[in-house]
């Protein structure tokens, strides 16, 4: 395989943003017909490197060769002309167009000067089917769930029949099932001679699909190696610079009385008759396939979206939160799945973000007590080892993992009795993931109840005491820790399991 022609060569690429040197002297060679993985911690510079390759950013220094010829790209259109397509980490789709229009955005087919809608819809439907999904190509994109949108994003790159395809964390919001189909497609593309660059924090996937792996750390290239003969532990050592032993530590905690009891909760649309409870010191997992309605359940409990039936009890008291403020008063905290959209206020500092939910308790007669707020932020920055440790930095300049820690901190500052975590480790690097698990472990040890939504089965299996599996808006009876297995969860999630 290494004998094939290099599809691209990036030499000594550096990129300077105001205040951040994202890349310094990174070189990368990828051959046609191979899958090349790039791994590294949050903020290591993976996305930046790929955005340079696809023409979104221009490098501060360095050169790029595509198929042997040196090129200079000024915008994504230039990259696309060279046959480079990128699936962005953040969804890059147009919510107001249809799925088909999105798939063919920038290169819609025409007939006699007019848009050939029939052709476009047929092709889109075909591509989506090859990716193993049934999304109506005429549906408005904005009406899809994130994971469906993620699939459309992949379909868009795939449909363009590129020579080089870059996938930046494509599976972060896909279920294992969908990821499996994607891998099948990727293998087919590889065998057809396409160069594939694959970025993921899920090292298992890297081992599964990649031929070669390049490790980035702090904007510098550490090493490129064939995947054959490398282990996850090796990769982590290269990424972090030292060993990280237990990836999914299970914290031991004393399980107490029920904190949250949900009975027959319905919203008349996404889920119906959901019942479960979470006890003090317990981590209850909420899992299922994409679109099963987990996020909706969490948002309903937190007062962010409507409920039509059912009761919620917190510490024995019936509550009916109509807004997050109500929910917070009842002792509920919610770390949302969409960090960028619902989690952070990008223009504010880490301190201001952490203080936001409880800002009123940091005031005297409406006046914010600066020192209290600073102290709070410092405390959590230290406790969660947020990097860089300066709480005055604008939160949008932090890497994803560190943003996630700040969001977690923000809600812990509210001293909740129940913490709902929606995909808390999505798109977060191994180190930060381990940090987050450790923090959750500490919390349950302090007696907090945790409801954790996660699509990553290994994570669910490792940290949860009980697991509720949802399938198309219905929740099965919780599985106890000793009866947990991937097979059992998958069976329930796909609707084949018997209650």
């Amino acid at each position: 395989m290494t004998s094939s022609r290099p599809a691209l060569r990036m030499r000594d690429i550096s990129k300077q943003f105001p205040g951040v040197r994202a890349l310094s002297g990174v070189s990368l060679t990828v051959r046609f017909g191979t899958v090349h993985a790039i791994v590294g911690e949050n903020g290591a510079g993976k996305s930046t490197l790929m955005k340079i390759l696809s023409g979104t950013y221009q490098p501060t220094a360095g050169s790029i060769e595509i198929d042997g010829a040196e090129v200079r790209m000024h915008n994504p259109a230039d990259g696309q002309k060279l046959g480079i397509r990128m699936v962005h980490q953040e969804l890059n789709l147009v919510p107001d167009l249809t799925v088909a229009e999105n798939v063919f955005l920038g290169r819609m087919p025409t007939r006699r000067g007019m848009l050939d809608r029939g052709e476009m819809v047929r092709n889109a439907a075909r591509v989506l089917k090859e990716l193993g999904t049934v999304i109506d190509p005429n549906c408005r994109l904005g009406d899809l769930t994130i994971s469906q949108q993620q699939l459309v994003e992949i379909a868009k790159a795939y449909a363009a029949a590129p020579r080089i395809i870059v996938l930046d964390e494509p599976t972060s919001s896909l279920s294992e099932h969908e990821a499996g189909i994607l891998f099948g497609v990727l293998r087919k593309m590889r065998d057809a001679g396409i160069a594939i660059i694959y970025i993921s924090h899920r090292l298992r996937e890297v081992l599964d699909i990649a031929d070669e792996v390049t490790v980035l750390r702090d904007g510098a290239m550490i090493e490129t190696r064939p995947v054959a003969g490398i282990t996850a532990a090796d990769m982590i050592r290269l990424m972090v610079g030292r060993d990280v032993s237990d990836l999914f530590p299970k914290a031991e905690a004393v399980i107490g009385s029920p904190v949250l009891e949900v009975e027959n909760l319905s919203d008349g649309e996404h889920f119906a008759g959901v019942s479960f409870d979470v006890r003090a010191g317990e981590i209850v997992g909420l899992t299922g396939l994409v679109g099963a309605g987990r996020t909706e359940v969490a948002r309903a409990i937190f007062g962010l979206s409507k409920r039509t039936a059912g009761t919620i009890r917190m510490r024995g008291q019936t509550v009916a939160p109509k807004s997050p403020a109500d929910a917070m008063r009842a002792g509920i905290a919610y770390v949302p799945e969409d960090r960028k959209g619902d989690g952070i206020v990008p223009g504010m500092s880490v301190r201001e973000n952490i203080g936001l939910p409880i800002i009123r308790s940091l005031t005297r007669m409406g006046w914010i007590k600066d020192s209290d707020e600073k102290q709070l932020a410092k405390h959590y920055a230290k406790r969660f080892s947020i990097v860089p440790p300066d709480p005055e930095r604008r939160i949008s300049t932090l890497s994803g993992g560190n943003q996630q820690k700040a969001v977690l901190a923000k809600w812990l500052a509210a001293k909740p009795a129940l913490l709902i975590l929606d995909e808390p480790t999505r798109g977060v690097d191994v180190g930060a993931k381990s940090d987050i698990h450790a923090i959750v472990g500490e919390l349950v040890a302090e007696g907090i109840a945790v409801l954790m939504i996660s699509s990553e089965l290994p994570e669910v299996l490792a940290v949860c005491d009980r697991v509720v599996v949802m399938h198309e808006g219905n929740a099965a009876k919780p599985l106890m820790r000793d009866e947990l297995s991937e097979e059992k969860i998958m069976a329930l999630a796909t609707g084949e399991g018997v209650q």
Partner: protein, 320 residues
């Protein structure tokens, strides 16, 4: 439920129907061809500007300078008449509009100024230029008979302007729905970043949008100046706001990504027939204002309910 959502989707049509119905009851002979023709002619000036603005709003930009460009173009087309003749002067007037659009586009695309701010500034500047070149006096053209000729009514109902407007709006409809650039316009307005990442040159679209909008404002201004045989620096000062209202009433979203030509037609016709009907009743201008304001509010509130209806769930993050 379905009937309701149908009614909500085509709300402009319904409001227009209701207005026409009311008008026909209140105003004797409202449906006579002459009256309709006049109403249409009145709608045409606003309509031409509205066409440009529909395109701009869909692309996610806004242009407040339309009224000022309208005045400047009209003035140019009048004061150049003695030297260039009517036809050529009119052409230069329209080109002036295009040039103004280039300035707007340059401010927004090159300098990166928010379009609301940029066109606020250019509106001030263009309006001042209009006052400057005319010394704040209205200017008149060389041939009044030409004015009469150009506002001639054909086929009992169309004037040159209103025919132009109707043709333009139909072309716009096809362009928006059935061509690739039309679809790209929606893409850019809905998410410029995503469009850019798909190889669409959003800056070029924005720039062309501004040029298009100002050119149409120029056309409207020139036609108006020719029919009145006058160019004046104060013309068109209330126009922009009215036109924005009409476009938005037609269902075009002010944040971009959504809109339609037929909606704009509906919005324009509603406002035109409303004013005509109320005027026929000698309703004082301030009452007309109250009614127009209420209708505007009613439509946008309806718009809001229809849009929140299917989206009870969380707003989809990618749409931000």
């Amino acid at each position: 439920m379905n009937a309701l959502s149908f009614a909500l989707r085509y709300r402009v049509g319904f409001i227009l129907l209701a207005t026409l119905l009311l008008a026909s009851i209140l105003v004797p002979g409202f449906f006579s061809l002459v009256t309709l023709g006049l109403g249409l002619d009145r709608a045409a000036t606003m309509g031409l500007i509205a066409i440009g603005l529909t395109v701009l709003l869909i692309s996610g930009q806004i242009d407040l300078s339309g009224g000022a460009v309208f005045a400047v173009s009209g003035i140019v087309s009048i004061i150049l008449q003695p030297t260039l003749g009517i036809g050529l002067a009119a052409l230069v007037g329209v080109l002036t509009g295009a040039a103004a659009g280039m300035i707007n586009g340059w401010l927004v695309v090159r300098l990166g100024i928010n379009s609301l701010v940029a066109t606020l500034a250019s509106m001030l500047a263009f309006r001042s230029i209009a006052h400057w070149i005319t010394e704040s006096q209205p200017v008149s053209g060389i041939d009044m008979m030409f004015s009469l000729a150009i506002s001639e009514i054909y086929l009992e109902i169309f004037t040159l302007r209103s025919a132009l407007f109707l043709v333009a709006i139909i072309l716009l409809h096809f362009w928006l729905v059935y061509t690739v650039p039309g679809r790209n316009l929606f893409a850019v307005g809905s998410s410029a970043m995503a469009a850019e990442a798909s190889g669409i040159n959003s800056n070029r679209i924005f720039f062309s949008g501004f040029v298009f909008a100002s050119t149409l404002a120029g056309v409207a201004g020139v036609l108006q100046a020719l029919t009145m045989n006058t160019g004046s620096p104060v013309f068109g000062s209330d126009l922009t706001v009215m036109v924005i209202a009409a476009v938005v009433v037609g269902g075009t979203r002010i944040e971009g990504g959504r809109g339609s030509a037929l909606g704009t037609l509906g919005g324009i016709l509603t406002i035109a027939s409303l004013t005509t009907a109320m005027e026929f009743q000698s309703v004082p201008a301030y009452i007309q204002q109250i009614v127009a304001g209420c209708i505007l509010m009613l439509l946008v509130v309806l718009d809001r309910t229809i849009r929140t209806r299917p989206l009870t769930g969380p707003e989809v993050p990618a749409s931000r």
